[in-house]
Amino acid sequence: MIAVRAADDRALASPLGRTSPVAKLVLVGAWVAGLALTTDPRPPLVLGAVGLAGAVVLGRVRPASLVAGLAPLVFAALTVGFFNALLNPANANPAFAAVTSLGPIRLTAPAISAGVALSCRVGAVAALGIAFGLTTDTTRLVDALVQQAHMPERFAYGALAAFQAIPRLAEDLVALREARRIRGLRASWHPRILVGLLVLAIRRADRLAVAMDARGFGSGQRTRFRSVEWSLADGVLLGVGLAVLVAAMALGRGA
């Protein structure tokens, strides 16, 4: 069973939950782009911390769900950083002194700082993703993408329906593997499992497409049950967010 971590009602009613998902998406995109441009560990630390603080204070996300979502990703970020440091070519360069060494393995200062910076960046991107996910309602995100970002309706609502089907895809995978075991076949992995998953997914997508068509989807001008309007809060969020980005980047540049 796959648990899709979703925003709770308390977070959705918060100031951050009520801002336009498109504004949040643009801001997260800008911050991630900024993180890609820096190799200094300080901007990601600042942006990640501000993102998490914003989720808790403005988004009223329970710190416990933040930690639960973030823990595996922080672990992944540390692992990535560690191996990046270990495999850094600077370690083989005799011009740099070894900070520590174990037999033939040397760790040099530039390699360590590159690894730390990478960990910070990966961790910050994960933190921003979690903060966005835990303060954003999926349906409202799609409504906003259609109404404010003018994404094609067929694509957007199709993607929303597909997103809802993810847990069922996981159930299909379990069933297909069980079917192999009960036939005496190696259950772990086989290309036929992929074929089976594909067939089941296509069948389901077919049924859904027919159901959507039967309700007149895509046959005329669509009206809105829930309209997503730009508000002053969106402007404030974007303005303050971009200012924080500039400040954090300046901190990195100044080093």
């Binding site: 809802q164 089907a165 089976g196 039967a214």
Partner: protein
């Protein structure tokens, strides 16, 4: 008829003056609402009220009209106050009523229901039948119900149209006329007749229900104190279940959707490890058996045959996992299932009809003669002929000493197999009815 369906339409189908299949879909959608078999794969939105509004948005209703209409449509189907709930968390019966609310929100005039109870438990089916009866009493909507289950159709219908296997109409009349004039023809074509009628006019194959079995042969399966909870899933689905099956024995797992019938079947067949308690199959823990050993002892028939196919052709599907001796017998297995290899051997299992897929899914049970056969809703969606064929098949397996554990909502199957009912009430331990 939605445009997404391929195929060819002959003749003309007029719905309220509008040509189905030719005129724009929105015009047809205004006049006809459709509800499909599988509640989960027809829901689009995350929340209940958005789901009801989805069709109205497509038809161009104004926001104000929708705000007024959505709560009324939900209340009409007994879902008042459900607006902000997540559609994925509703029960199957609630999801199906939500699908009807969504179809009826635009007041279409005609409501088409395609086997709406196929995936529902008895409680969900009763609720749905009650709602349909209430709608019939008001007579505001024409209801077209496509259904196998006679006990659902006969009390609700004003007019019944029966189709033969080739899709051509074979009888048309009021429920009373259908039984008076056409009973023999309907029964001959495999159409289910209501239970109250069966036996009165010489129903062709009322299989004599067996005496409910007791633990007969040597002990085969011992389930002791078994409980199960999904990792991180909180509350156990069931706890402290004790169950015994002897050789040639049969037990029916009963209970509402979500009570863990399939889960218990998977635990008994070694596909899933219980959270607590132990399972012994002829002395072994089935979950620890190597796959080859397990396959020799246990057969499992899935509710959806497409979830159990492991090979690209019917022949390879039947041969999968068998040794040379087993493969030599495949032609015979295929013939006795009505899937002769000359005609079906090289076809893909996915291109077979529903009935053919169901029969193909029985091949392992025939080729290996396992001592335990676990069945998950094996008869759903079957016409009378298909059902009788399955019951004959299972009885032949019982006769040769195979024990059967079946998860089902179908009381007829329980009676026809002479199975001991085992109730899972959705909270605690199972109870064997005496």
């Amino acid at each position: 008829m939605p445009a997404a369906i391929g195929g060819r339409l002959d003749g003309e189908l007029l719905v309220g003056g509008c040509q189905a299949g030719r005129d724009p879909q929105a015009q047809v959608a205004r006049r006809v609402g459709i509800v499909f078999q599988d509640p989960e794969s027809q829901l689009v939105m995350e929340r209940v009220d958005d789901e009801v509004a989805f069709g109205l948005e497509s038809l161009g209703w104004s926001a104000g009209e929708m705000q007024a209409r959505v709560p009324v449509a939900l209340a009409d189907l007994g879902l008042a106050g459900f607006g902000r709930r997540r559609t994925a968390r509703l029960s199957g019966g609630e999801q199906q009523r939500l699908a009807i609310a969504g179809a009826l929100a635009a007041a279409p005039g005609i409501l088409v229901l395609d086997e709406p109870t196929a995936n529902l438990d008895p409680a969900g089916t009763r609720e749905l039948a009650a709602r349909l009866a209430a709608m019939r009493a008001v007579r505001s909507t024409t209801i077209v119900l496509v259904e196998h289950r006679a006990d659902l159709v006969w009390p609700l219908a004003d007019l019944i149209l029966a189709l033969g296997a080739d899709g051509r109409p074979i009888a048309l009349g009021t429920p009373a006329e259908m039984l008076e004039r056409y009973a023999a023809r309907l029964a001959g074509s495999g159409v289910w007749l209501p239970d109250s009628f069966v036996g009165r006019a010489g129903d062709p194959a009322p299989p004599d229900p067996r005496e409910p079995g007791r633990v007969a042969g040597a002990p085969l399966l011992e389930v002791r104190g078994v409980g199960f909870a999904w990792v991180g899933g909180g509350q156990p689905i069931f706890r402290a279940v004790d169950l015994d099956l002897g050789e040639g024995d049969r037990v029916a797992l009963l209970g509402p959707n979500g009570s863990g019938k399939s889960t218990l079947g998977r635990i008994a067949s070694g596909l899933l490890r219980p959270t607590t308690g132990s399972v012994r199959l002829a002395g072994n823990d089935p979950a620890r058996l190597p796959a080859r050993e397990l396959a020799r002892r246990v057969g499992y028939v899935f509710q959806d045959p497409e979830r159990q196919f492991v090979a690209a052709t019917v022949r390879a599907e039947m041969e999968a996992g068998l040794d040379a001796a087993g493969r030599a017998g495949v032609a015979e297995v295929a013939a006795s299932l009505g899937l002769p290899l000359e005609a079906f051997g090289e076809r893909s299992p996915y291109t077979l009809s529903g009935g053919e897929q169901r029969r193909l899914s029985l091949a392992p049970a025939l080729a290996r003669r396992p001592s335990l056969l676990v069945l998950d809703e094996p008869t759903y969606g079957q016409d009378r002929h298909g059902y009788d064929r399955l019951v004959d098949f299972f009885r032949a397996r019982l006769g040769s000493g195979t024990a059967i554990l079946v998860a089902t909502h179908d009381p007829r199957l329980v009676a026809d197999l002479g199975a001991r009912p085992f109730e899972l009430d959705g909270a605690s331990s199972g109870v064997v009815a005496a």
